[in-house]
Symmetry: C2
Subunit: 387 residues, 2 copies
């Protein structure tokens, strides 16, 4: 595992490709989320570590006022628990004998750890209950995942959730605490008014009907109604229905989020992929960079250039990307001329990744920079598919 | 770094998502490449480690009769040199002060290491020459990369290469050994006859004209003419012009290569992404798996199911994928019915990745399996963007 830089290094001497964090922008984002939530004192912020997988950042989020940390999977939870994080919510279902053993083992190993996980299947709930009883001999907090439109995991809203809740209340080592209602597919509606409208519609429909069904069945109301990503958390917070939000990308941002109309929620781009010019093609008039699919992902479009937004990033395979003139736009606007003579080999080029989460997952290190110098080098502790 | 399995484990107990190697298929592929090249005794096979980034596999390739190992970048070369590989070709340009120091340091650290690198820029050549003289005080083998149509790095074919060669021959610590003429863009032409024709056209045109220009300039002929990937290496080998080929994916294969007409070159799929069923949606009639963008990449299309080719993999984000019925085809053929009742939570589902190289780059471990049991667990030593 090659460390791309050491504290004190100049940015120009960082080994590329490497992921940088602009620490000024990052620290501003850490604080901003709480500024935005100030008007909603009943709504706590439990940010999602799937974006950074980094213990150091999770600790800074807790210091900034977050009440705990969300994770996408067990390996992320194990890392954070080992690092001393005291409140962790796994926002997915943990399935399978070995994984349940690890989860139950965590509750036994750390008696003061508040850890919760999601359920959408009674067989799985029974397995978890049995292991909590036999191995840990205590209760574990559980949330029911509601399929409010993501169409992935979760139970259908309304009565199916109430019926399931009635079942899991019979399991004595599970402690029902809430419902997870995440609107992932709404995070990137570009127009902020449309996005807000879409969120409100889901809250007023699928979320409220679920709460209503639970009430009508005379079952205990969920203490926690959670969900909300970087693109929508403010709307969930304003709804009066949610009392917890889970933004993740807000610490970094990416090009996909930057293409959103912000609706007044203005996080700064803090994550960059630093690349170097490794070849200059004068006859073809393009510059080749040492950054391809193995250093930034393509699931949410191409990266853009921080300092050269007028030019286009073109994928060059696993290890390369090209800076090229944009094709002239449809309205007859001419593309800006790219003067390759202005570039030299080893010039550093800053890219804004298309999607921060899977890009961070490619890297072992996050290099924190300020004023042209490296200040911190943080490990991406839970990097990888893990378990 | 969580190890997904131990030798002796049953496949059903491997922690998912995890990359598996079907060792029978893998070993067959290791041998097959030499069977195919038997008719061409003057052509050596220097396979590309960018596909596996794994020291163990590189050693097995050498044992199988390969003359050395190609790598895409310096971090891969460092790993292999430290693991005792004696012949390494870096098929890209190494640019920048620190990277050149590391390369030159390798030649000093391992006196019996035959290492070569590519050039396409005279400033870079002079930098390398100066460091080889001042630090290592010896010569390093260099190849000129020729842009035979990849339109990425490399010099234009013909006279530009001859002119550049004349320049680098003046640099006393560089030892010109050959030219790299890689046809990456031709690897996935589906029809094997068309693919062969495309390769032959490039060899007869851009490659031969480059050799001709070198000859006409009375410069030393390249000892090595190298290139060729898994989709085309046999055509380069047959050409009589190439004396080295660099297939990489052949050890694993992937869905993109499997969609090629093989033209009689039949490698077996040995690489699989093992996933588990983590949710079952009965009303939506789909199964959710714990495998998404963080465990297999989307640059070359979706993965396919080894045992359920009739169903479709649908991305569910970073950590999820769905098994769904295929949309009925245009010719009126009905899609096969997916009976979700046949699946249980934690069922293991084998996926064939769309593109092996960047998928391997997501994982820390390659789990070798045979007869339903884990036999080996190999580290992906050079995983990551590295340097």
């Amino acid at each position: 595992m090659f460390v791309p830089a050491q504290p004190g290094d100049l940015v120009s001497s960082i080994q590329t490709p490497a992921l940088l964090i602009d620490l000024n922008a990052f620290e501003e984002n850490l604080a901003l989320v709480h500024t935005y939530l100030k008007k909603h004192p009943n709504v706590s912020c439990k940010p999602h570590a799937k974006s950074h997988k980094c213990n150091e950042i999770a600790k800074l989020q807790i210091e900034s006022g977050c009440t705990g940390i969300c994770v996408a999977k067990l390996s992320e939870a194990v890392n954070l628990a080992d690092a001393g994080i005291k409140s962790i919510c796994i926002t997915n279902e943990i399935v399978g004998d070995k994984k349940l053993d690890i989860l139950v083992g965590l509750t036994a190993k750390y008696p003061d750890l508040e850890i919760s996980t999601c359920l959408d299947n009674f067989d799985n709930a029974k397995d978890l209950n049995r292991k909590m009883k036999n191995i840990a001999n205590k209760k574990i907090d559980v949330l029911i995942e509601v399929n409010v439109g993501q169409n992935r995991c979760g139970l259908e809203p309304g009565k199916p959730v109430a019926d399931f809740l009635e079942q899991i209340l019979t399991l004595e080592n599970l402690n029902f605490v809430g419902i997870l209602c995440y609107q992932g597919w709404n995070q990137h509606i570009r127009d902020s008014e449309e996005r807000k409208k879409a969120v409100i519609e889901v809250v007023g429909g699928k979320v409220k009907s679920t709460l209503q069904a639970i009430k009508e069945a005379n079952l205990p109301a969920p203490e926690i109604v959670t969900g909300g990503g970087t693109g929508t958390f403010i709307y969930e917070a304003e709804s009066g229905v949610f009392n917890e939000v889970q933004p993740g990308s807000y610490v970094f941002m990416d090009n996909d989020y930057n293409l959103n109309g912000d609706g007044g929620i203005k996080f700064r781009q803090s994550l960059f992929l630093l690349s170097s010019v490794c070849s200059i093609n004068k006859s073809g008039n393009f510059v080749v960079l040492d950054a391809g699919w193995k250093s930034t992902t393509m699931d949410s479009g191409v990266p853009v250039f921080k300092d050269y937004p007028e030019f286009e990033f073109v994928w060059g395979g696993d290890e390369h990307g090209m800076m090229k003139e944009k094709i002239a736009s449809k309205n007859g606007e001419k593309s800006k001329k790219l003067d390759v003579e202005k570039f030299s080999l080893d010039d550093k080029i800053w890219l804004v990744p298309g999607h921060c989460d899977p890009t961070v997952n490619l890297h072992d290190w996050l290099v924190g920079v300020r004023d042209g110098k490296v200040e911190s080098v943080w490990k991406v502790d839970a990097r990888g598919p893990g378990f």
